[in-house]
Amino acid sequence: MENKRYDYTENPFNVTRRQFITIGGIVVALMVLPTVWIKELVSNRNRYILARTKGLYRDDEKAKIRVSHANQAVAGYYRDFGGKPLGELSEALLHTKYINRTQGLA
């Protein structure tokens, strides 16, 4: 319907096949390259996180005491002060209250 209202149009062969492939290829490559760069950045960042996690597990394996109930200092606290884990005195000594400090940060 639209073509009844005009007498001239652009030549559809303004771009040769060779130009289309060259220009189209460059455009697509320029779009893809930053994507690869960002993907590489994110992967590198994840590699650091994975290395750090691996290091923490290795430290954990080497540690003599790996659980709190096997820790002599914690056991000594309950024996001398706290009574038993989750007990009344223990809660009174160790429990903390939540205070909203975000107002002060704003």
């Binding site: 005009y6 960002i38 950045l41």
Partner: protein, 216 residues
């Protein structure tokens, strides 16, 4: 001889792309400036950010759809804006004759141009490169800021601001000259057609080399 004849300058696909560009980029520019200068309180700034993101999503959909559906138009556009000759240098030397026309009411000889004049080519290059960078960095800053390294996010924030300001500064110039060339404005906003004589005066090289009669 050609006074009644019309040329289809902006096909429907280009016009739809441009409509969506208007609907998305104008709010993006306004909200972008508000986000940069932060003149409002927290709640209003949050609303501004939401509008900015919504318009950004619309712009992305528009750009991606046109890139995929009208890829041959993208290639043609890239070819046109990056085809540079001595005529462009001469055009910039007289700034297309516009300052002389507006300030001195004088008409100076202007080099012959294709579909886009040199100023439009420069604007096209800025829109193509700047727009792509704005869309890409905008998505990372909004959706993936914690997955991306801090330095890269900071760089993207700077790029987003610089190109956002650049395109926002270009916008009033584009709007003014777009409306000033009223036949072209009507072609882009309404029907896509431009009178043959007008096109031959504005874009002689385009009419001579790229335009063909419909019946042949």
């Amino acid at each position: 001889m050609h006074s009644e004849n019309m040329i289809l300058k902006h096909p429907l696909s280009v016009r739809i792309f441009h409509y969506l560009l208007i609907v998305s980029f104008l709010p993006l520019a306004v909200t972008g400036l508000i986000l940069y200068f932060k003149p409002f309180s927290g709640e209003s700034m949050n609303l501004t950010m939401q509008i900015h993101v919504l318009a950004g999503v619309l712009l992305t959909l528009d750009a991606v759809a046109f890139f995929l559906i009208g890829f041959e138009r993208v290639v043609l556009f890239v070819k046109r804006v990056f085809t540079i000759s001595m005529n462009d240098v001469k055009w910039f030397a007289v700034l297309g004759g516009y300052p002389q026309k507006f300030l001195l009411k004088k008409k100076v000889p202007v080099p012959t141009m294709g579909k886009y004049n040199s100023g439009q080519k420069l604007f096209g290059i800025c829109v193509l490169i700047g727009g792509t960078i704005l869309v890409g960095t905008g998505w990372i800053l909004w959706a993936f800021p914690h997955n991306t390294p801090r330095e890269a996010v900071a760089l993207m924030g700077t790029l987003h601001t610089v190109f956002g300001i650049l395109l926002t500064v270009f916008l009033p110039v584009h709007l003014f000259l777009g409306i000033y060339m009223f036949d072209d404005f009507k072609a882009m906003i309404l029907h896509g057609r431009i009178p043959y004589d007008e096109a031959r005066e504005q874009s002689p090289l385009w009419v001579e080399k790229e335009v063909i009669p419909l019946n042949k």
